[in-house]
Every structure is written in C-alpha cells, then in structure tokens.
C-alpha cells in the first residue's frame, strides 16, 4: 500500500515570492508521482508528473518538482507566485505495476493562498 503526506495544510505567501509545497510518500514498491491543482468548485488538473528520467520535472504554470528517492519526497516549487495560483494542491502516487489500472493515492492537500 502507498501513503502520501502533505505536512502543510495551508501556505500563505506574498505575490512574486517563491513557494515550496512539501510532499513525502511511503510505498513498498516503486511509484509514479503527480501534483494536481484544484481551483474552487472545479475538478483536479494535472500540474506535472514524474514517471522516469530526470528527477527535476517541469509542469504547467511555471511549477516544477524534484523527485528525491532517498528522502521519498516530491516537493513542488515555483520561483514567483501569482495571485491566480491561489488554489489547493494535491500530491498523489500510483504504484509501478503492470495491469489493473493506475488508481491514485492522494495526500490531504495544501491550500496555497497568495496575498498582495
């Protein structure tokens, strides 16, 4: 089984400041990792994913994340946030198994609030 921990339930930050949203995971098998964003009253939108290759992955809206296998982390970063980045961010994993679909296990989410 897999689990995902997002330690920060809320992160306030001023516009144009950098931000890091933390994600740690636990799994007995290799996993693939994802960050999703949810704007108010909307579904989830994929920001970025790590499947293999370079451990630094770039996503939409200027976000990037770094996979650290030894620390079992996949922290999300943005060098300069905008007011429109205010949303809830979810880290998720799915096991690297063939067949059976790719159900996601989510963290509890981090509410990013960008202030002027």
């Amino acid at each position: 089984a897999q689990s995902v921990t997002q330690l920060d339930s809320q992160v306030p930050v001023f516009e144009e400041a950098p931000v890091e949203l933390r994600c740690n995971y636990s799994s007995s098998v290799s996993v693939y990792l994802f960050w999703y964003v949810q704007y108010p009253n909307q579904g989830l939108q994929l920001l970025l994913k790590y499947l293999s290759g370079s451990t630094l992955v770039k996503g939409i809206n200027g976000f990037e994340a770094e996979f650290n296998k030894s620390q079992t982390s996949f922290h999300l970063r943005k060098p300069s946030v905008h007011i429109s980045d205010t949303a809830e961010y979810f880290c998720a994993v799915t096991p690297d198994l063939t067949g059976g679909g790719n159900k996601l296990t989510f963290g509890t989410g981090t509410q990013l609030k960008v202030e002027l």
């Binding site: 799915t94 159900k103 296990t105």
Partner: protein, 114 residues
Amino acid sequence: GAGVSQSPSNKVTEKGKDVELRCDPISGHTALYWYRQSLGQGLEFLIYFQGNSAPDKSGLPSDRFSAERTGGSVSTLTIQRTQQEDSAVYLCASSPTGDSYEQYFGPGTRLTVT
C-alpha cells in the same frame, strides 16, 4: 475537445433515499475512475473501470455503493439508502487506457445528505 462531464453538479437528498451520479468520460477513453472527496477522508479512490468491467472495486466503502459502465462510455455510481456520512464531492476521471498515467477529472457532483 469536450472534457469529462458529470451530472448533476449538486444533489441534495434525504437520508435513506437512493441516488445516481453520472459520468461522461472523454470520448475514446477506455479507463474510468471514481473518487470521493470529503472533509474527513480527503480524496479516496472508489472504483476503476476498464471498458465495461471493473477489475478494481476495492475502494467502495460499503455494499450500498455500486457502479456500472455501459458501452464503454457512460458510468453511473449508485448509492442506496444514503447516510449523512455519504455527503461528499464525487469525482470521475478518465484515461486513454488502463496503462495511461494521465487522468482527466470532471468537475464533480456535490452530494449532500440531510
């Protein structure tokens, strides 16, 4: 193109009633997932369809919950004898195949059980 759609967007029902929630996946997507988002439990997987069959139902919380998919397209999640703890947002996602890692989410159905 059209994304994943879900209906109704909001549903208020009385405790003990049955409800049906509908999901229309992206055309051509063979994999379909249902998740539930609630204050107490966060985002949880419910069931996975590949075509019309459901090889993974491990997330359904009780036998009051069932789901079906017809024609490899539309899916219906049915909750019988609703309880207050069923109140949540029910999210549907589709994926091109069961091996695909990109899931496209619908806007969800907010269910309130009074």
